[in-house]
């Protein structure tokens, strides 16, 4: 089942004009605040009615402004996870979880309910009121409530934005599990690049109401021209497999034959992980350097050089691990005489990878 969205909406000076498909898996709407992410997600939910739109989930038309079709929110079968959780304060956790079933006069699927409660580890909270929950617990209950609504699409509007680092790390794995264990398309709004890198199957990069670029997470994040969150968030995303846990506390990853070392990753050998290498943390060298503290050195060829400002540039290397981006000065490009096709080495500090994934790998 996939989600087809074409929205045109104008309010004041802002014009949202976006068209994309969200396939199975997790599609991230990625961009700054004011780029139109929330407008799109609320249009899918039916909480906002765009002037022109075609929105379809699987075979069900949610809105078609040409045919004057508009399904009200309560008939859309949604699972909407809000940033501020929006649990009902007068109901217990159990009452919140069962709200959707009661509202649509469905009998509660006890097996599914038990499974969701178990997955989110909220069994001990069922009798409590939302006010007695921590931020992370609230959000877990909100996720459970959305899943138990028997949704045909899951919407998440910056679900981690109001949580601190440790709480974010607590919630992220649940989204991975929903992505991997269900067939329900998930539309996820965020401006945090590490959430995109870790969760996204598909990325829709939005800027000022327009789709800047769309495609698989790896392609969009590795494209130096698509940078909805500015240069600081540009960086390559590598798919890697955990190869070994070493005695000195480091974990060795294998990405297409290249070895990467990270501080201990609490996952078993063979587990797939995603690693983001921020372009600003990557150094370039002609030859494999010696006598250097950095552990991660990958050789490759210069694939593209993109000038990003008067003095800066982003160099894309093609390596066996995939494209790696380095943000350096144009002076360095000239000094090293970098040209497309030249062999080159990328150097990444272990700590740089770790710090970007810090919350993820805690």
């Amino acid at each position: 089942m996939s989600l087809l969205i074409s929205v045109h909406h104008k309010f004041g000076d802002f014009i949202l004009d976006a068209k994309f498909e969200a396939p199975k898996g997790l599609t991230v709407l990625y961009g700054r605040s004011g780029s139109g992410k929330s407008t799109i997600i609320n249009a899918v939910a039916g909480l906002l009615r765009p002037q022109k739109a075609q929105i379809t989930v699987g075979s069900q038309v949610l809105q078609d402004s040409d045919a004057r079709t508009w399904v009200p929110p309560h008939k859309r079968r949604l699972g909407y996870i809000f940033q501020d959780s929006r649990l009902f304060p007068h109901l217990s956790v159990a009452g919140n979880l069962d709200y959707a079933a009661r509202a649509s006069r469905r009998s509660i699927d006890t097996a599914h309910r038990a499974q969701v409660i178990d997955m989110l580890d909220i069994g001990a909270l069922l009798a409590r009121r939302p006010i007695a929950l921590s931020g992370g617990e609230k959000q877990r209950v909100a996720i459970g409530r959305a899943l138990l609504a028997d949704p045909q699409v899951i919407l998440a509007d910056e679900p981690l934005a109001s949580l601190d680092g440790a709480r974010k790390a607590e919630i992220l794995p649940y989204f991975e599990r929903i992505r991997d264990e269900t067939d329900i398309p998930i539309l996820y709004v965020t401006h945090a690049v590490n959430e995109v890198a870790r969760l996204a199957t598909t990325v829709i990069a939005l800027e000022k109401g327009k789709v800047l670029r769309q495609g698989p997470a790896r392609d969009v994040l590795s494209d130096p021209r698509a940078r909805p969150m500015g240069l600081g968030a540009v960086g390559a995303v590598l798919d890697a497999v955990i190869k070994a846990h070493h005695d000195d506390g480091l974990t060795e990853l294998d990405a297409g034959g290249a070895a990467f070392f990270l501080p201990h990753v609490a996952q078993p050998i063979g587990a797939k992980v995603r690693v983001r290498l921020p372009a600003s943390d990557v150094l370039l060298a002609h030859q494999r350097p010696s006598g250097l503290s950095a552990l991660n050195i990958v050789s490759g060829q210069v694939e593209a050089i993109q000038n990003t400002s008067e003095s800066g540039a982003i160099v894309t290397l093609s390596t066996c691990a995939g494209p790696i981006l380095a943000r350096i000065t144009q002076r360095s490009v000239r000094a090293m005489d970098l040209r497309v096709g030249n062999p080159c080495c990328a150097i990444v500090k272990t700590v740089a990878i770790a710090s970007d994934l810090g919350t993820d790998l805690a």
């Binding site: 939910a45 039916g46 909480l47 009200p72 929110p73 309560h74 008939k75 859309r76 079968r77 949604l78 699972g79 909407y80 809000f82 501020d84 929006r86 009902f88 304060p89 007068h90 709200y99 959707a100 009661r102 509202a103 649509s104 009121r129 939302p130 006010i131 007695a132 409530r145 959305a146 609504a149 919407l155």
Partner: protein, 233 residues
């Protein structure tokens, strides 16, 4: 006699009638009060300001004017009164009329209290309920109404206390017939017209104070309990 607490049968009748009138007035006006308050808070419609003004009119009009208007409209020859008479419902010079007058006079207070509590209900929670498959009426019954319960209770008790004390519109609309339309305030007024009845009047004054004070305290306790339940503290 201890059982009568020194009240005469007429005075007992006035107390009983007052309580009956206030209860009926509160119970029957509450659904309208909730509806009007909800409409004023959540809906945008033509004539909203007019409705708001109309609801508040009894608060600012002289009660005697309100009573007279009721007499004109609901009297046996009034446009609504004659129609209702065919259905066997008579208001003028009956205790039902006293209840109607009390309800109309208490309505602005009730609507104000309910309106405040409805305004405090976060529309985002109602949106969340809609995304979970709840229709508008279900959202209202399961989210809006329970969250507004403290204000609704406070509004109801306030209206009850106001209905107990209503005098001007009542005496104009239904007069002060002992045993039929004579409520506590009209009984006090009647007693004060007769020399030497100050003692009886004073006893009813004390009753008024106790009832009103009790209602206010009760509303306070209810509101506190309900808000505890709603906040989950």
């Amino acid at each position: 006699m201890i059982a009568t607490l020194g009240f005469s049968p007429t005075e007992w009748q006035a107390i009983g009638l007052s309580l009956k009138v206030a209860c009926i007035a509160t119970v029957f006006s509450l659904p309208f009060g909730i509806f009007v308050a909800y409409a004023l808070v959540r809906w945008n419609f033509y004539g909203k300001h007019f409705l708001n003004g109309l609801v508040h009119l009894p608060l600012v009009l002289p009660p005697v004017v309100t009573g007279y208007i009721l007499l004109v409209i609901f009297g046996v020859r009034g446009p609504i009164g004659s129609f209702l008479q065919d259905w066997g419902l008579v208001f003028a010079f009956r205790w039902t009329g006293a209840a109607l007058a009390a309800a109309i006079m208490a309505f602005p207070l009730m609507v104000r209290a309910i309106r405040l509590s409805l305004e405090a209900v976060d529309p985002k929670l109602e949106q969340a309920a809609a995304t979970l498959g709840a229709s508008r009426s279900w959202v209202f019954l399961t989210i809006t109404l329970p969250l507004a319960v403290p204000g609704i209770l406070a509004g109801a008790v306030l209206a009850f206390a106001k209905a107990l004390g209503e005098f001007g519109a009542t005496i104009t609309f239904v007069s002060s017939i002992p045993g039929q339309t004579q409520t506590v305030p009209s009984a006090i007024y009647a007693l004060l017209q007769v020399p030497g009845q100050e003692g009886a009047a004073l006893r009813l004054v004390a009753v008024s104070i106790v009832l009103a004070m009790g209602a206010l305290l009760f509303s306070e306790i209810l509101a506190r309990r309900a808000s505890k339940r709603v906040d989950g503290a």
